[in-house]
Symmetry: C2
Amino acid sequence: MRRVGKQTIVFQDPPLILNHASVVGPKEGEGPLQKTFDLILDDTLFGEKSWEKAECKILQAAVNLALDKENLGRDEIDFLLAGDLLNQNISANYAARQLAIPFFGLYGACSTMAESLILGAVLVDGEFAEKVVAAVSSHHDTAERQYRFPTEQGVQRPLTAQWTVTGAGAALIGKGEKGTRITHATVGKVIDLGIKDQSDMGAAMAPAATDTLIRHFTDTGRKPADYDLIITGDLATIGKELTHQLMEQQGYPLGENFADCGLLIYDPTQDTHAGGSGCACSAVVTCGHLLHSMSAGMYQKIMLVGTGALLSPISMLQGESIPGIAHAVVIENY
Amino acid sequence: MRRVGKQTIVFQDPPLILNHASVVGPKEGEGPLQKTFDLILDDTLFGEKSWEKAECKILQAAVNLALDKENLGRDEIDFLLAGDLLNQNISANYAARQLAIPFFGLYGACSTMAESLILGAVLVDGEFAEKVVAAVSSHHDTAERQYRFPTEQGVQRPLTAQWTVTGAGAALIGKGEKGTRITHATVGKVIDLGIKDQSDMGAAMAPAATDTLIRHFTDTGRKPADYDLIITGDLATIGKELTHQLMEQQGYPLGENFADCGLLIYDPTQDTHAGGSGCACSAVVTCGHLLHSMSAGMYQKIMLVGTGALLSPISMLQGESIPGIAHAVVIENY
């Protein structure tokens, strides 16, 4: 069995991330990670008539860029695993129509990049596929329209709010001799401690991140210090601090090697309040900064913990709290 | 490689469907398949205050029933793969919260049962899991509210419209010596021939069903007559007739062994117009009628072709056409 403990997959011949690409909007392109992105858009419409059509085009662009870097045609990819935040996953669905690659649609809210990396690695390691692409997108304005208020309305955002990243990340997964590999994956449970504030997603997701981290350490016998970097997807200031506290309470204090994609992507002067969020937050930081840093030898062993808030506007109107999920993916160089 | 041709997975040690359960609403319980369902609800609220909460409870009930039949606890299940039609997959997300099984959220519209069976079988055959549950739900009134008009508004439905099935199906997948197995899976591409009528989903999905069927026959060298039954998910009257025509044009005429879950679930007197649809349509027919018929030896080798229409109300308002997808799952007794 390719597993240890209850929730952790151990890949037998750990698949390589053969290449990767990231596309971001102008705000992300002005942030501290600007040099790590492949394409920075001049505006959030990308030549389209709606933000939704733009998001779909951004996702396609990320996939095409990742394939171009490896000189691969789309017909050389066995499966596309993709998702986004929009109702009925339309960015991924319509991108898959244009890409014409056999398609698995996924939904894990902002954890979808981690989910797609896990299932992509499963397909490759299990010898169901030679090459797959894992890709996700989000867009600030499509997400605001759908989950909160139309951008044009100019509603004031509370300081606990996060800023949905406009962008997409794509990772090409396959086999190879040497490189950056996906070695383990800890698949999360849905955890809900009763947070109901839609403007405080970090707090809602922190218990799920904690649960998955502890399960990972219990399953593998590893400890936080075994990783050069443990990086959550989009907990941002409040969620990261809560995760720090929860992990300390549980006997697994996290040290200086603990970071969050939502805190890396924007500069505090960019007025995003608690930090970044959205499927693209962990995706563009992973498919930009993190994988570039690993290629450059800055990190040898990292753990990405994709975090997602599994609410919908209707579940909130019906009085539900916000369930969170977190999936961990271990990425190592060798 | 566990694959033939471009899109077809061939399972090496084909996983068994160890057990299965189906829960349906009262209308489905009055239909021709009533004796094949495990639980028929008295009303569509199932003791809850909203249809959305009811759908979530129906999904949980189907999973719990499938586990109870095998005397398994939820902690004996490695992964839950689930999805539904609602925005942000809330039925699956909130059901996964209550079930507390490590969770992969999927979205393939009405094809999600086939998608979850495929990825569930991948996890088991690839030795990433011992036992997984694949489960999906839909609900007539939650779907009408979200995709079309609130039920209370009483809008007249065109004759091409289909009736979203209220219900959920769950299949427990694992290893075993003898039984009903998942042997092959053909993963579909997104196909869109430009249909824009949201009240005619069958026509939008027929080209995807045709594409996947032809790819399956090309990949495997099999022909339609090799199956005791080829059954699509929810093409209903119009989509099924179009698929007949398209398959004949392509040189693969389908015979008497071609059926559609959306045409089996309701009686023409039940006033559902073109037939059934929704994630639960193929799920309850599979986890009720089809798997019971296979256990009883009525069929030895069938192919379920889950069909999905990957639109959203927003994509329609923005002038898009309706992309379709179809995933094929071959189920055999031995």
